[in-house]
């Protein structure tokens, strides 16, 4: 699944039964498996697991979307990456240095692979 399913102990995880409403920030690796409503700005890797429902604008260094995401996804940094996995479904715009869509993944929105000028400086 995109090679991101490492099982580090330091990786965050929002279990399927958990519903989170608010803002997720900071730096680290987080895997969302439940429901999330709010905003996400993570200096790290965000993974939306299959079955997860996320309604939030997402800003992250890397985002791997395997669930259902409603909101614009923006990659942070020159090496940012946003990948819609084969089980993923994204309704929103994507803006990142690298954008990938796996076979079977759904994307409803525009794609912009232009890196921000400020991120290059």
């Amino acid at each position: 699944m995109g090679g991101v399913s490492t099982d580090d102990d330091d990786r965050g995880r929002f279990a399927p039964g958990l519903t989170a409403r608010g803002h997720l920030g900071g730096q680290g690796r987080v895997r969302l498996e439940g429901r999330f409503e709010g905003t996400i700005e993570l200096l790290g890797q965000l993974e939306v697991a299959p079955g997860a429902e996320v309604t939030a604008p997402i800003r992250a260094l890397e985002a791997y979307l395997g669930g259902e995401v409603r909101g614009n996804v923006t990659g942070l940094g020159a090496s940012s990456r946003v990948v819609v996995l084969k089980t993923g479904r994204l309704i929103g715009d994507v803006r990142a240095a690298e954008v990938g869509i796996d076979d079977g993944g759904a994307l409803h929105g525009s794609v912009d692979m232009v890196v921000d000028i400020k991120d290059l400086s």
């Binding site: 279990a15 958990l18 608010g22 680290g28 709010g38």
Partner: protein, 240 residues
């Protein structure tokens, strides 16, 4: 897939977290947490808000109230400002904790007061409390009386039974106090010194008391304190 949710260190979540399953907080949560599983606030983890879980374990920082459906545990590394409410509450010595503790459960009555008449076994009356041995006698009851046999030795009787003070008046009728330097000397054994003085005779019964040779003479004394310059002077007591 029933692993616990984990908020890793470095990650901040502001909002509400609720749902099923366990949750481990190693990062920072600003908001409320309400889950039906266990909640661990690990060392390094910070939660600012009220938390409710089946079992709340605090090893990090919690600034808010903690409600445990089963228990709340506060370890020695915890820093906690808030109230703890659970059927079982454990606070390990070493924890920094400021707040109140309410050990209660919806199934049990709140023990906010203690009344022996109420908190007894069902169908039983409150036991009567018996005064322990040596306890003072109940007010209103007569004091126990002691009667010594006539054949009891007189010396032992005086040593054990209190007797009224017997002040021997000198023939001149003047009672002299001991010198000041001997005033603080240990007094010889005198049983009369340990009993309460009987009330002085009333003026009407004074004549009878004077005539009765067996009655103790209780001279009414008045002390005149010597001045500092006359500390060596003898204190005089005027007989009645």
């Amino acid at each position: 897939m029933n692993r616990a949710s984990i908020l890793p260190s470095g990650v901040v979540f502001e909002g509400t977290l609720e749902g099923t399953g366990d949750l481990v907080v190693r990062g920072t949560v600003v908001g409320s947490i309400q889950i039906d599983g266990a909640l661990w606030i690990e060392a390094g983890g910070v939660v600012r808000g009220h938390v409710q879980a089946r079992v709340v374990t605090v090893r990090g920082v919690l600034k808010g109230n903690a409600f445990g459906d089963e228990a709340v545990r506060v370890s020695a590394t915890a820093k906690l400002i808030g109230d703890l409410t659970a059927p079982r509450v454990q606070v390990v010595p070493g924890a920094r904790f400021k707040g109140a503790v309410f050990v209660e459960s919806p199934n049990l009555p709140l023990l906010d007061r203690y009344d022996p008449a109420e908190h007894t076994l069902a169908g039983q009356e409150a036991p009567e409390v018996e005064a322990p041995i040596g306890a003072p006698t109940v007010v209103g009851q007569p004091a126990p009386t002691f009667a010594l046999p006539a054949s009891f030795p007189d010396t032992l009787a005086r040593a054990t039974m209190p007797s009224p003070p017997r002040l021997d008046t000198p023939p001149g009728g003047t009672l002299r106090a001991p010198p000041p330097d001997k005033a603080l000397a240990p007094l010889p054994f005198e049983p009369a010194a340990h009993v309460t003085l009987p009330s002085p005779p009333m003026p009407g019964a004074l004549a009878d008391a004077e005539s009765d040779a067996q009655a103790p003479r209780l001279p009414k004394v008045s002390l005149r304190m010597p001045s500092l310059g006359r500390a060596r002077g003898k204190r005089r007591t005027d007989p009645r």
